[in-house]
């Protein structure tokens, strides 16, 4: 193998599994250490800069970081990253003095944001401090998009959402709420220099089976129904409720139904349990609220009498995989009838752009989705950009935020006369953590604590009150112990071959046998030849140049390295050093406004 180029920021970035797995690349270990140090406000600001909605995401994120977490590869459960994020939000002080200053003199460029969800708000957050004049359009009475209309208050209290939305709106954003944009041309006709479309995926899939029309009054599309509940147009549901679908919207629907009078609420899913799209913790929470889940049931028809919904008939199926791994649902012949007063359909959602005229120069492609540049989010009409679910289909909040950051960079480049494809490099820093012979500036000791459970509100009380938050969050003490479970994967093992005397001390001490001194070979030959074969091909092998004494190389399997620092402590020559790698996705403005840092970044490190 060729020596690893640790000068490439992406090498060490990939070692920080959580950060690498996060669409917005939030520096997770950095803020977890700040939480452990009790510096909640600093931890919050690290988050806020990267993911804009720490309080919201600390409750509702899809958590791609957690399955990626290295801790999950050496023991049962990853660090409760999401819940720690919430701790930072819950315990922070006022951040008013840390928010970026908004220039009084604008730069003369006007931007319209269509849709008031996380993608648009992120664009606003990134561009307002640069002096842009920003108008935000949304058809709802309040900004927030699906964070407001789709996520029930028992998971995300309105106060948390309002606070984080308001930080952005207070940057001098002109909001045009309750304003439904039904023509992009009407916006283009106005003197906007750039337009960002962040309208989400607003159309819930329907289920066209017999009886659907006849019982329309008691059959609801899940996302519309949740929205009606959120805006208090609807406060009741029948006693017996069927929720169709296995995603997070289905989980939110069934749990909301339990709070609006549903006593016998069932979730019915076509696929098997293991293939359900909902996050495992949301499924758990639904089951804990006495909601059974019926898998492998395919809806056949709505049963009604005299125009009154009676229930639904399902065909039970077996899930069969053929040799190619293709799944088919084979009816068992058994049919099942469930009684129901209301049915909520939460089987998916789609994009819809009926309001974009097709003769404006915006090309639409497959699935009637806009044709976009995957990096710049620019459409074929150069002043129009897309982001969030509107760009590439339904994803999640953190992905929308990541899109927003990138679209903001593009818009800024576009309006400052730069090339939108000329993207700013990430911000990178690599600093030794050595404090003394056996002392590091991070807690290198590895705790054996298992993942801490988060306390829940009393179930009876929670089921009576739609707005009572169920998860209570960690208190400061539990948060400290959970934070200590973090392996500090951003503190990198940096190897300097010129200093190595090949004494094997690092090999002997490494608890997880990651380090090898071995004759170099191609990767396929090297991986199985290591002391413990490197089977996880998603994780890299860190290879040094040839060593002076034996012409071997150092080869370290990054897979289960605990970042405990023992290799560096036992190294007599300092050939190993523990160095903190800080990686930030550069935000809009960095290329045009040279030397300017995000002004909110005060004393966070």
């Amino acid at each position: 193998m060729k020596p690893t180029d640790i000068g490439d920021p992406e090498y060490f970035h990939k070692v920080v599994d959580c950060q690498y797995g996060c669409p917005a690349h939030t520096p997770v270990p950095e803020y977890i250490r700040l939480i452990a140090a009790g510096r909640y406000t600093d931890a919050y600001m690290v988050n806020w800069e990267s993911n804009v909605f720490p309080g919201v995401l600390g409750r509702t994120c899809d958590r791609p970081c957690e399955p990626a977490c290295r801790r999950g590869r050496v023991e049962e459960e990853p660090v409760a990253i999401c819940r720690l994020k919430r701790v930072a939000a819950d315990h922070k002080d006022s951040i008013d003095d840390r928010l970026p200053e908004i220039p009084a003199n604008k730069n003369g460029k006007r931007i319209a944001l269509i849709g008031g969800g996380p993608a648009s708000l992120t664009v606003a957050r990134d561009l307002a401090p640069l002096g842009y004049t920003i108008d935000l359009y949304d058809d709802q009475p309040l900004a927030g998009g699906f964070m407001r209309s789709q996520i029930p208050s028992f998971r995300l209290p309105l106060s948390v959402l309002d606070e984080e939305v308001d930080y952005i709106l207070a940057m001098g954003i002109t909001s045009h709420l309750r304003t439904h944009v039904d023509s992009l041309k009407s916006i283009l006709d106005q003197p906007y220099d750039a337009i960002f479309v962040g309208t989400g995926a607003p159309r819930g899939s329907d289920l066209d089976i017999p009886g659907r029309q006849e019982c329309a009054a008691h059959i609801h599309v899940g996302i519309d129904w949740l929205s009606s509940v959120a805006f208090e147009h609807l406060g009741k549901v029948g006693k017996r409720v069927l929720v169709l679908g296995g995603g997070n919207t289905a989980m939110d629907c069934c749990r909301t139904a339990r709070r609006l009078g549903g006593e016998d609420v069932k979730v019915v899913v076509r696929s098997e349990f293991e293939k359900m799209k909902a996050s495992p913790w949301e499924i758990e929470d639904a089951i804990a609220e006495d909601i059974p889940i019926f898998n492998n049931h395919v809806p056949r028809e709505f049963v009604h009498e005299d125009g009154q919904l009676k229930g639904m008939i399902f065909d039970k199926v077996d899930v069969v995989y053929d040799d190619a791994g293709k799944r088919s649902l084979v009816p068992t012949g058994e049919e099942v009838f469930f009684e129901a007063d209301d049915v909520l359909i939460a089987i998916g959602q789609d994009n819809a752009f009926p309001w974009i005229e097709r003769d404006l120069g915006i090309e639409f492609g497959k699935w009637d989705m806009p044709v976009l540049d995957k990096v710049t989010f620019q459409s074929t009409l150069d002043k129009v950009f897309f982001g969030g679910d509107a760009a590439f289909g339904p994803e999640n909040i953190i992905t929308a935020v990541a899109h927003g950051h990138q679209a903001a960079i593009s818009i800024d480049r576009f309006l400052q006369g730069g090339d939108v494809h000329d993207r700013p490099a990430p911000g990178v820093n690599l600093v030794s953590q050595k404090m003394g012979v056996h002392e590091w500036s991070y807690d290198s000791a590895i705790t054996i604590d298992e993942r801490f459970k988060v306390p829940h509100a009393d179930k009876t009380a929670a089921l009576k009150d739609r707005k009572l938050e169920v998860e209570l969050g960690f208190d400061q003490e539990v948060a400290f112990h959970e934070a200590q479970r973090c392996l500090n994967c951003d503190v990198q093992t940096v190897f300097t071959e010129e200093k190595c005397i090949e004494c094997d001390a690092c090999v002997d001490i490494c608890p997880t046998s990651c380090i090898n001194f071995i004759s170099n070979a191609e990767e396929e030959a090297l991986r199985p030849a290591l002391r413990i074969p490197a089977r996880n091909s998603e994780q890299d092998i860190y290879v040094s140049a040839e060593l002076a004494q034996t012409q071997r190389v150092m080869a370290k399997d990054e897979d289960v390295c605990l970042h405990c620092g023992l290799c560096a402590e036992r190294c007599p020559t300092g050939a190993w050093d523990m160095q903190q790698f800080f990686y930030t996705v550069t935000k809009a403005g960095a290329l045009n406004h040279a030397g300017m840092e995000m002004p909110c970044r005060q004393s966070t490190r």
Binding site: V74, I448, C503, I532, R570
Partner: protein, 349 residues
């Protein structure tokens, strides 16, 4: 801090026939200097015992005084251990071995503990062919007392301060061969490929097995001009590879044929040697000594299994002791009664 070792191990850690991972053979965290060769030897002992499927409680580890003699604290936490008086480990080992011949005895000593204060004891335990593996962690200096030259320091080797050693060194390997050791090897802490199989062979040998392991002292004896530094060993080590093939395991050749020699041990395992030359017969004392001399005269250090004699009687055989460990014999066996006394007395008349 180094005294905190993480509890987690690699999830794919290999498991031996007893169901143990290497973690079951670990000891406390080393307090020796970072980079000390002794730590590599401890790791090699862990590897050897793990791979030999030895139950840790069937091992007694013994040591004298010195950096080397601290190391039994850093491996085999589940074994019996005796950290004895300076240079007196052989006596303690002899007593323990006589009392319980069923244990595996691993002695760890250093160049000072063996070649200076313990020289007398060492000579006699070799002569008696006590059944044990005796490992000398040889760094050529007194690391605990700021690195003065030890008795194994080579002539004209330079100290860290720059002084040239003017005394002739004691070569424990040559002495041991001369006075009747039945298994003599030399190795280097930085060469586990050779050291681990040699350790396995030494533990499997019936009788006294000496392993003189050059183990650089990073703090006081790893500079240019030293003959016991990592760099010097790497440049001048003429290593004869060793394979240890446990009993019942098929032998698969991995070295060039022609110079490979197989030695069958008493327990049925086989030590395969890849010798430096055709002329060298490791079962011949003169041949071994000549080879060692020859390499030394060229400034090289010959490492590997240097000499073996499979016919030597170990101490229990020589003394004709009971098959059962003495510590298991009860009054019934030890005082068989006046009838036996009478017959013994009759035999002496």
């Amino acid at each position: 801090m180094t005294y905190l070792r993480p509890q987690f191990r690699h999830p794919d850690s290999p498991v031996n026939r007893l169901g143990y991972t290497r973690q079951h053979y670990e000891g406390g965290l080393s307090t020796l200097c970072a980079g000390c060769g002794h730590d590599s030897i401890s790791a090699a002992i862990i590897d050897a015992c793990f791979e030999l499927n030895i139950e840790p409680h069937k091992v007694a580890k013994l040591s004298g005084i010195g950096c080397s003699s601290k190391t039994p604290a850093y491996f085999l936490n589940g074994s019996h251990s005796f950290n004895s008086v300076h240079g007196r480990m052989p006596s303690v080992a002899t007593g323990a071995n006589l009392a319980n011949r069923d244990l595996i005895y691993i002695g760890v000593s250093g160049d000072g503990d063996t070649a200076s204060i313990g020289m007398g004891q060492f000579a006699h335990v070799v002569r008696r062919n006590l059944n044990m593996a005796y490992i000398v962690e040889n760094n050529g200096c007194y690391g605990l007392t700021k690195g003065q030259d030890s008795a194994t320091m080579d002539l004209e080797s330079r100290s860290k301060k720059g002084d040239v050693n003017m005394y002739s060194p004691i070569d424990l390997v040559k002495i041991a061969i001369e006075i009747g050791a039945t298994f003599v090897g030399r190795s280097f802490s930085g060469d586990k490929e050779q050291l681990v199989p040699l350790l396995k062979a030494a533990v499997s040998h019936r009788g006294f097995a000496l392993l003189d392991v050059v183990s650089p002292c990073v703090t006081f004896n790893n500079h240019e001009g030293s003959t016991k530094s990592y760099a010097h060993m790497r440049n001048n080590n003429d290593a004869m590879p060793v394979d240890f093939v446990p009993m019942r395991q098929e032998i698969t050749a991995s070295y060039d044929a022609g110079t490979t020699h197989e030695v069958c041990m008493h327990d049925g395992s086989v030590v395969r040697l890849h010798k430096a030359s055709e002329e060298y017969d490791i079962e011949d004392r003169q041949s071994a000594l000549q080879a060692i001399h020859h390499h030394a005269s060229q400034g090289k250090i010959l490492t590997g299994l240097l000499y073996i004699n499979r016919d030597g009687e170990e101490l229990h055989e020589a003394l004709g002791t009971a098959r059962r460990p003495l510590n298991e014999l009860t009054e019934k066996e030890l005082c068989p009664g006046s009838r036996f006394l009478d017959s013994i007395n009759a035999g002496l008349r």
